[in-house]
Amino acid sequence: MPPGSLALLAQGAAVSLLLAAVAIVGGTLLAVLLAALAFSRFAVVRAAYRVYVYVVRGTPLLVLALLVFYAMPALDLRTGPYIAGTLVLIVYTGALLAEVFRGGVLAIPRPQWESARSLGLPPLAMFRKIVAPLVTRYTLPPYVNVCVMTVKASSVLSIISVWELTLAAREIIERTFAVFTILGLAAAFYFVMCFGIDRLGRLFERHLALKGFAGERA
């Protein structure tokens, strides 16, 4: 193995993880807002939600990244590739997670809504005490799915010169031609990160499992 390459890859992995973490946090917040729009009483708002999801989800991340990267200077927004790349990831993750959350809200049984309504719970309490806890439990597996995908999707940002794991690997390969060793190592780093997220998800699942249901042990 070329000397020093492991340290470089580790640094790249740290950047990838950071990008993914920011995208997941930002994307989750964005998705909560978006999912709320999906249930708006105004048809225009619901339509706007659908347009957002269709457009973002229906465009390759690579194309989105290039678009934002080239469009931003044209719009006279002087941001570097890191800001642009992070924004793209947030926008993308947000669209996917919004659909995950929307599905979770749809999964809340009607009687639960009626119970909450008949108590006269105000909207914020309804969200905090009923909707959020139930949707969190319903959507944890697909949520983790999107998180894992986000880690891997961050590799696309290497195209717009965001220095992260994939770009680090490509640089080392150009210098040393140790293609399979370095790509193998990079893949291993991605795997470890994704595996970690999956374990974390499992931990939450077990912690949040509804007591007294079969899912407690699933």
Binding site: G120, L121, L134, L208, L210
Partner: protein
Amino acid sequence: MIVVRGLQKSFGTARVLRGIDLDIADGEVVALIGRSGCGKTTLLRCINFLEEYETGEIRLDGEDLWYRATPDGVRRRVSEVEARRMRQQMGIVFQQYNLFPHMTVLDNVLLGPRFAQRVSTAEAEALGRRLLARVGLEAKMSAYPAQLSGGQQQRVAIARALAMRPKVLLLDEITSALDPELVGEVEDVIRSLLSDRIMMVLVTHALGFAREVAHRIAYLAEGAIVELGSPADILDRPKDPGLKEFLRRVR
């Protein structure tokens, strides 16, 4: 006191309620009976505004519920804020208990007082404990709904409804989903409430229980109250042929 006047409700082209008039006095227990699809559950749900209705009025202690007429005569539903305040004067218990599965028994009972009525945590907890003791489930306070039997869950649901200190309790076939041996414990709780003189409207198929607890029984058919009277009048001296037929089938 509850006053229902000219209540009409349709689901699409199907008219489920065709002009219901019903008065419920303070402390009175009224049972709604009739074959399934007669509109008795819909009537109960309209009273709690879980269903909208096209015409008619529902008043609680003189206050018009759910709809207001604007000065130019247009009928509009009250604001969400007002609807919430009105709902807090009623407690409803459903056939399938509908407890919140992610909360302990105590939290289920506390939720309304704590977050809808803004009672302090300490006060709400004291109230919750007292009500759970009353339905005989103080020991299950920290259990989760799915760890309880159906009868126990239904008793929690009654405690949850009572926690709002409602003027009226709406009971929607609350023993229909229970195993026969669990029916008694839920009925006992309702019996114990009679001394509180809280208004109750119960939709039920348990005619023996209705005879025992109700002051009056209303027999509904095809969305209308066909016969209304004392339990003895309705169950022992029915006049309407449909009611006679219904009683023959149920017994």
